[in-house]
């Protein structure tokens, strides 16, 4: 069982694409109500469908799930979903910023950009988690989490519905801290708030 030092982490960023929805839903359903680290979800989604995703994630989530507004501050115990057709940046002041810059890795929101900006802003207090997906977005971002001293987790490609994204993250980031199955990711996250 993986242990993490308590109170060290201030930001969790989860990236995923195809095959990640069920995983994220499961994770959100198994977190304790007193979970006190903000979670940012950078998930690929249809650009023109703005409604329904937050609602779908909220059904089983213990914690409130919202799409942040521009310059909204990150709060512990909240889950933030990158809105459709925007990039979501995490800035130094602990605030979000949105952008309509060109797509990166054919994606807007791009997982790489949320990870890179979050890692830069929260340094070693960041946890980056890459889940199932059918492309390579997030690989560079996870490497940045590692470079800035954060903790890196990749969903076990053997378990992921689409292993391309976890594999690409492993290729790019090199040695990551943990390769975990979904249940182990859940145990790990739960260990962060246990005394």
């Amino acid at each position: 069982m993986v242990k993490a030092g308590r109170m060290r982490y201030k930001l969790i960023i989860i990236g995923g694409s195809a095959g990640s929805f069920q995983v994220v839903t499961k994770i959100l359903s198994k977190l304790p109500a007193n979970f006190n680290i903000p979670i940012v979800l950078a998930l690929h989604r249809l650009k023109h469908v703005r409604h329904g995703f937050v609602e779908a994630l909220s059904i089983k989530s213990v914690l409130p799930v919202v799409e942040p507004l521009d310059k909204e501050g990150l709060k512990p115990g909240k889950v933030y979903l990158a809105p459709a057709n925007y990039h979501l940046y995490v800035e130094l002041a602990g605030k979000f910023a949105l952008s309509t810059e060109e797509p990166v890795n054919h994606s807007r929101p791009a997982i790489d950009l949320s990870f890179m900006t979050g890692a830069y802003s929260y340094k070693e207090k960041t946890i980056g988690i890459i889940l199932s997906g059918a492309n390579k977005d997030g690989a560079m971002g996870l490497k940045k989490v590692k470079d800035w001293g954060g903790l890196t987790i990749v969903q076990d490609p053997a378990e992921a519905q689409m292993p391309t994204m976890p594999k690409a993250a492993l290729d790019m980031a090199g040695q990551v801290d943990h390769i975990l199955k979904v249940d182990e990711i859940i145990k790990f996250l739960n260990s962060l708030t246990k005394s």
């Binding site: 521009d70 310059k71 057709n85 925007y86 940046y89 949105l98 952008s99 810059e101 890795n105």
Partner: protein, 283 residues
């Protein structure tokens, strides 16, 4: 030389400080009003576009070549994304706002403060045509300098923008067979719009201090513009927009933008929650 878009932003706080000083001293241009992550990404982009290997090279170019500055501002400006982004907004403009304006005004004045590459301007013109009120309308399209305005009018849009935009257009009209071909001119490497679409568009420079050429604006279309600025500057801009907008005028921001923290926000009523359209209800 060209960096990947997801590569590290190498510019530190001290570098940005130095660039800020240079721009302020030489050109009176304050980049301190910009949102930090986007600013850094754009500065890296400017360096790439001009084959400058580091920030010092960019600063030196700005210090030695005044003619580079307008280009710098243009390259710093984020391009528009697509035509008819958020189709429901355009439907609201056509079905709800346009009839009210048509009834109450001889001349309808619409302001797009950051016209950039012109997507919102063209979408507005086509929507007003759809609503049958373009002939009595004027669209004021402004941006930081003449270079950007020129681009806004003359840019050749890449073909990959067409599919996204036509899909938006179909959603706007709720008609699967709709396309933009009647408005387009095909070019070698992309497309432009026909001249008559631009007949009622006035271009001008707006940096945040100028008096507008047109008084009593009826609609400010300001979507995904505030996101590039600090909240302090957002509030200042919002004050300027409010001062130029006539009572009962409409103000639209991007669906994830926020103005509720601004002092002037209590002069408005939210009339479309999904598309973030406000109506100015008091002077």
């Amino acid at each position: 030389m060209k960096r990947a878009l997801n590569e590290e932003i190498e510019i530190g706080i001290s570098g940005i400080r130095k660039l800020t000083e240079t721009l302020k001293n030489h050109y009176g241009f304050d980049i301190g009003v910009y949102s930090s992550t986007s600013l850094k990404r754009r500065v890296v982009k400017v360096m790439d576009l001009n084959n400058l290997k580091n920030l010092d090279a960019l600063i030196q170019l700005l210090e030695t070549s005044e003619s580079f500055f307008p280009l710098f501002q243009k390259q710093l400006t984020v391009e528009g994304t697509e035509f008819f982004r958020d189709p429901a907004l355009w439907r609201y403009l056509r079905d709800e706002i346009a009839p009210v304006l048509d009834r109450n005004h001889m001349k309808i004045k619409i302001w797009i403060p950051g016209c950039s590459t012109g997507e919102e301007v063209v979408s507005t013109a086509i929507t007003l045509k759809n609503a049958g009120i373009y002939d009595k309308s004027v669209i004021l399209a402004t941006d930081l300098n003449k270079e950007i305005i020129k681009q806004s009018r003359e840019v050749i849009y890449s073909n990959n923008k067409l599919e996204i935009s036509e899909n938006n257009y179909k959603r706007f009209l709720e008609d699967e067979s709709a396309d933009l071909s009647g408005y387009l001119i095909k070019k070698d490497k992309g497309f432009q719009f026909k001249d008559d679409l631009y007949s009622n568009i006035i271009y001008d420079v707006f940096t945040g201090t100028e008096n507008l050429k047109i008084k009593g604006i009826n609609v400010v279309l300001c979507r995904n513009y505030f996101i590039y600025f600090t909240t302090q500057y957002q509030e200042k801009l919002f004050g300027i927009f409010t001062a130029n907008l006539s009572t009962n005028g409409y103000f639209a921001i991007g669906n994830k933008e926020n103005i509720t923290f601004c002092k002037d926000a209590d002069k408005y009523a939210l009339v479309n929650d999904n598309e973030k359209v406000y109506k100015k209800i008091s002077a």
